[in-house]
Symmetry: C2
């Protein structure tokens, strides 16, 4: 995997970088945001992976969340990848919630998606390998994300026991099999088989989770997608049934935007810092 | 002056709003970002005006600076206007540093600019009047800004003794009469008269300043515009000659971006909070 650093900016005593690298599993060039806290100059630091939502690139989180301040306080590296494969040769759809910018953190099995849309393998394996080989990173990891990326964080953590110390999410799509965004994407990427869908659905996966990660979910009470697409009570019910811990917080008045994320990202980073200590 | 609230988002316990209102002095519709801290629910709060740089709208500061956290801590309203008059009937130029997005916070006297380009009057008088009349704002004010907006903050504070309690700037154009950005804009907006230029040049105004405001300036040491456009040592020399206090900090490694602003905006807001107490 080749890599080139295309942005390099001082930020809170560390560096907000962006890399472009070649992904073998995705078969394309990818960009990824990397925040190195000041502590990274003196030795390996733990890594928090951040998965963004529909339509985002690596830029949304690194420019809008205000997370660097807290990462610098706790000595945590932030790794914020793009949300889908990219490039002229990559299949796309004429809508914001399928194709580019909407990879849904799964491995597609249906055409025309199967060749490039393998975001699950990229996030779970290839990207961490690149991080370990190229950044001053320890092997201690946590994962978080927003909306589609909250779905990605929850499912990837649940499917990979031992890999992460903690998981959190903002406004996650907790039950993609039961809501329009997920049903559209899963049908296109995975076909009609319910068993294939269940492999990427947090509310299904939590029933058979092999570890009990500290799990924090924040959801805006005024989120315009709350009742139709997000439905956090389905995750609460699944966690209750499985005996899995979940700290689910409904934050009154907050919507689906980065103003919501910026207001609580400090508490999420503290949650992960405690687990990664 | 009519006004309409076009964005309203919960943020750090308060509200990040955007208003669209009709400016009489500019002769057009303007947008302005307003952050109301939680304390504003209980009574009038002091106001920090933020003036943005070339090419910006009100969105850059409110989405990228991460200032709301600190404003919420100190109970300060943030008012972030646009950087020029806007609209189809407003003169423009085919470059990023003149015309729309480049109002330079002055009152233009030359055509085709004189009709709409009166950002000085808008920021110094009309906008504060609107703020006092429409927001839970006290009459205690401070002013800050970035690059062209740092120039605006310094000059407007120096020209209006008694109006502001404190002033600060990031990477300001301290001596527009002596650098390419300022020379181009002043020639277009004001003509060739050096006396007209001096009325909007902080290094000239500081010699006759009638009060000694607490003045904080942060400048990135790796700023790509440092030697050609910004030249903070000219402000230092003018302040030394006039006996005006100036805390000028060169921050090694930092560039001209919002990553720089976000890293130190907390210290600027603390500077203003202390003066507005």
């Amino acid at each position: 995997m080749t890599a080139e650093r295309i942005e390099h900016r001082a930020c809170f005593g560390g560096w907000q970088d962006v890399y472009r690298h070649t992904s073998t599993v995705l078969g394309c060039e990818m960009t990824v945001g990397v925040y190195l806290p000041p502590q990274a100059e003196h030795g390996p630091c733990p890594v928090l992976y951040w998965l963004s939502g529909l339509t985002c690139t690596e830029q949304n989180f690194i420019t809008k969340a205000g997370a660097q301040r807290y990462a610098a306080e706790h000595g945590i590296i932030l790794v914020a990848p793009d949300t889908s494969p990219r490039g002229d040769g990559v299949a796309d759809a004429d809508s914001y919630d399928l194709g580019k910018g909407a990879g849904f953190y799964l491995n597609a099995t249906r055409e025309p998606w199967a060749k490039h849309y393998r975001m699950y393998d990229y996030i779970a394996d290839e990207l961490p390998e690149w991080v370990q080989a190229n950044l001053p990173a320890s092997d201690v990891r946590a994962i978080s994300g927003h909306s589609m990326g909250g779905h990605g964080a929850l499912t990837i953590a649940l499917k990979n026991p031992g890999r992460y110390r903690s998981v959190s999410a903002f406004s996650p799509i907790v039950a993609p099999s039961q809501v329009p965004w997920g049903q559209k994407a899963f049908t296109a990427y995975l076909g009609e088989d319910p068993a294939a869908w269940a492999q990427y659905d947090a509310t299904a996966l939590v029933a058979e989770a092999k570890e009990r990660l500290p799990m924090l979910v924040d959801q805006g009470g005024a989120d315009e997608f709350l009742d139709n697409q997000l439905r956090p009570q389905l995750l609460q019910a699944a966690c209750d049934a499985a005996g899995h811990p979940l700290e689910l917080r409904i934050q009154p008045g907050y919507d689906h935007s980065y103003y919501f994320i910026s207001s609580f990202i400090g508490e999420h980073i503290a949650h992960h810092a405690k687990a990664m200590r």
